[in-house]
């Protein structure tokens, strides 16, 4: 599948001396990684080549407090406010469509792509953000790029690329109740390692993947980069088509029929060879949680933190986390719970957490922040009354954005505090200087919020 999409987007093929020139079908732009790229266009007097294939939004440094988004209150961080303004100026000057701060279509860039239907099978999609791999869930070739490359795509709609190697991750076995797509991808990263797929494009295959809904597939593809992969892809199928059908930016009518015919050609041919293959048994997985400072440092929630002798980096990581080798992770105190991010802030994620929270309260002393992935997710959740479940439990209900996943907008975890987070990175300082992040599923996060301790969600699930 990767090779089919790759071949169809070659402007010129690679040679020993020069990389391929690869055409980009969709370029997503946000406020943090684009200002310096627009500056290069200005310096050189270049226009944006295909404004019709470029879509901008703001998510990383935007506030989540309603009064700062809609109420006219100033954005509390001056430099963030400047970045937001600069994107508005750049989009207006270069004719790029912007889903701005108050747009009903705004949201985390990797949530609004699929949600609007502009993310489609077979497309090449890039964005100055490593979690662009999310869009691979529909069978697109989607990957993160740096700001220099953002400039290349703005100016030429193309990138210079060497072809990646292919990596099949074949997943079999049914996920047990309480075990989610997040636990699956954390389990995969734990198995192959955080650098385990550098230089590769992963294709997730097998019966377990086919049984996932689109939101779950996005969670899996989202964290491909956490295993070092260039991109993650899942072949489109009836689940994909049913998801995309009727979405505002998806093809309509006769165009839909034509698109569908092309999409059906995309799946990897039987007998195709991959450069690397791994088999994963999903049936044995438990809810997973991280204990260290990279996503590969992960254990089943009933497990104990491993003991590694003479490994200074490991010891340093545990010292940062304030956790001990050989100890159980269960019942570890939790101070903050963050439900959000491009990994787990879609409607089904909020539903799963709300179902567990219903009739419970967030434990005393625990802050729980719920940040929907997009304004549309927020609206849909409110239509179902999910916001009431969160508010009644004592959680905060915010406007959409990246928020506490990386704390750029001031939504931060304090030094030394333990945060159970549905995001994707538990790096040192990721959620705030000295913050200690435990990555988990929305279901596990909700269970931890109720008890104020690391909790297996199955202990609180009915039946």
């Amino acid at each position: 599948m990767f090779e089919k999409v790759w071949d169809r987007h070659l402007v010129t093929a690679e040679t020993a001396d020069t990389p391929a020139v690869l055409y980009v079908d969709l370029h997503l732009v946000h406020e943090v990684t684009s200002p310096q790229a627009f500056a290069v266009l200005r310096e050189r007097g270049l226009p944006v080549r295909r404004t019709d294939l470029t879509l901008a939004t703001m998510d990383h440094s935007t506030p989540t407090r309603t009064e700062q988004v809609f109420g006219g209150a100033p954005i509390s961080i001056d430099s963030a406010a400047k970045q937001v303004r600069e994107l508005e100026i750049n989009c207006a000057a270069f004719g790029v469509e912007l889903l701005g701060l108050r747009s009903a279509q705004r949201g985390i860039v990797h949530i609004i792509g699929p949600e609007s239907g502009i993310t489609q099978p077979g497309k090449t999609i890039v964005c100055g953000d490593s979690h662009t791999s999310t869009h691979g869930a529909v069978g697109a070739l989607a990957f993160g790029i740096g700001t220099t490359e953002v400039g290349h795509v703005l100016a030429t709609q193309c990138l210079l690329q060497r072809k990646a190697r292919t990596f099949s991750i074949n997943v079999s076995g049914r996920l047990r109740p309480g075990v989610t797509a997040k636990d699956l991808i954390l389990g995969i990263i734990g198995q192959i390692g955080v650098g385990g797929s550098t230089g590769h494009v992963i294709e997730y295959r097998g019966e377990t993947i086919r049984a996932l809904d689109m939101d779950e597939r996005m969670t899996v593809c989202n964290m491909s980069i956490e295993a070092g992969a260039r991109a993650g892809m899942i072949a489109p199928d009836e689940t994909t088509y049913a998801y995309l059908s009727g979405r505002p930016r998806a093809p309509q009518g006769a165009d839909w029929e034509r698109a569908l015919e092309q999409w059906q050609q995309l799946p990897t041919d039987a007998g195709a060879r991959f450069d690397r293959e791994v088999e994963i048994d999903a049936a044995t997985l438990e809810p997973m949680i991280t204990y260290g400072t990279n996503p590969g440092m992960v254990i089943p929630i009933s497990g104990v933190i491993p003991v590694k002798r003479d490994d200074l980096a490991f010891e340093k990581s545990l010292a940062y986390m304030g956790l001990e080798a050989g100890a159980a992770i269960k019942d570890q105190i939790v101070n903050v719970v963050f439900l959000g991010s491009c990994t787990n802030a879609r409607l089904s994620d909020l539903r799963s957490a709300a179902n567990l929270l219903r009739g419970h309260k967030v434990a005393k002393g625990v802050q729980m922040l719920v940040v929907p992935g997009s304004q549309q997710v927020k609206k849909d959740a409110e239509a179902e009354g999910l916001h009431k479940v969160f508010l009644e439990a004592g959680a905060e209900w915010r406007e959409s954005g990246c928020s506490m996943c990386l704390g750029m907008n001031g939504d931060l975890v304090a030094k030394g505090q333990y945060s159970v987070s549905t995001s994707n990175r538990n790096f040192e300082g990721r959620q705030g200087v000295g913050a200690r992040t435990l990555l988990a599923s929305p279901l596990t996060a909700a269970a931890c919020a109720v008890r104020g301790r690391v909790t297996d969600p199955r202990d609180l699930m009915n039946g």
């Binding site: 402007v11 010129t12 740096g146 290349h152 955080v194 750029m408």
Partner: protein, 190 residues
């Protein structure tokens, strides 16, 4: 971009594996709209304490690390976020090359586009470099060799076009802009 042909420098060593770009430059410094001035916040949370005072035990704060232009790090350097602010910060600080057994894809690509040379070496060479901080090394891009003070010469891989651009200080945008007729032809046939 400044061309690189040869680089002769002592090394600074951060032996940890999986140094992510959040460590190289934490997210709170990304609300900038320019490329300049990021060097002062390079490795900010390892380099300074809560009051902003340099931690004397951190490698880059030691007197012997001053002026080093080559950073040696553990496996999988630059993993995580795609922020190009990471190589910008390393360059602004004064580094011109990084050496590891594995350099994460996006960070490698971003480094090459800004004149920061990613040098990937075998385990044994990496181990030697980590055990000998401050070693005087020579990196020659023309012959793609790293020369250790022992006299040992190690070849390193680098993508041919990136090497050409680095040697000549050429940026890739010019090359892409030179392909406009092929790009137009692609747009006509699709």
């Amino acid at each position: 971009m400044e061309p690189i042909k040869t680089l002769h420098s002592r090394t600074a060593v951060l032996p940890a594996a999986n140094i992510d770009t959040d460590q190289i430059i934490p997210a709170r410094f990304l609300t900038t709209t320019t490329r300049e001035g990021l060097g002062r916040n390079l490795f900010a949370d390892w380099r300074y304490d809560a009051q902003g005072t340099p931690r004397p035990d951190f490698v880059l704060n030691r007197p012997e690390a001053q002026g080093c232009r080559v950073l040696v790090a553990g496996r999988n350097l630059g993993c995580g976020s795609s922020r190009e602010h990471a190589p910008w910060a390393l360059l602004d600080y004064g580094f011109r090359a990084v050496i590891s057994t594995e350099v994460a894809d996006i960070f490698r690509s971003n480094s090459l586009k800004n004149g920061l040379l990613p040098v990937v070496v075998d385990e044994a060479t990496s181990r030697w470099l980590i055990e000998h901080p401050g070693a005087e090394v020579t990196i020659d891009l023309d012959s793609t060799t790293l020369t250790l003070p022992t006299g040992e010469r190690v070849r390193f891989p680098i993508e041919a076009f990136s090497r050409y651009c680095l040697l000549n200080g050429i940026d890739e945008l010019g090359f892409l802009l030179g392909r406009v007729s092929e790009i137009e032809a692609y747009e006509r046939r699709t």
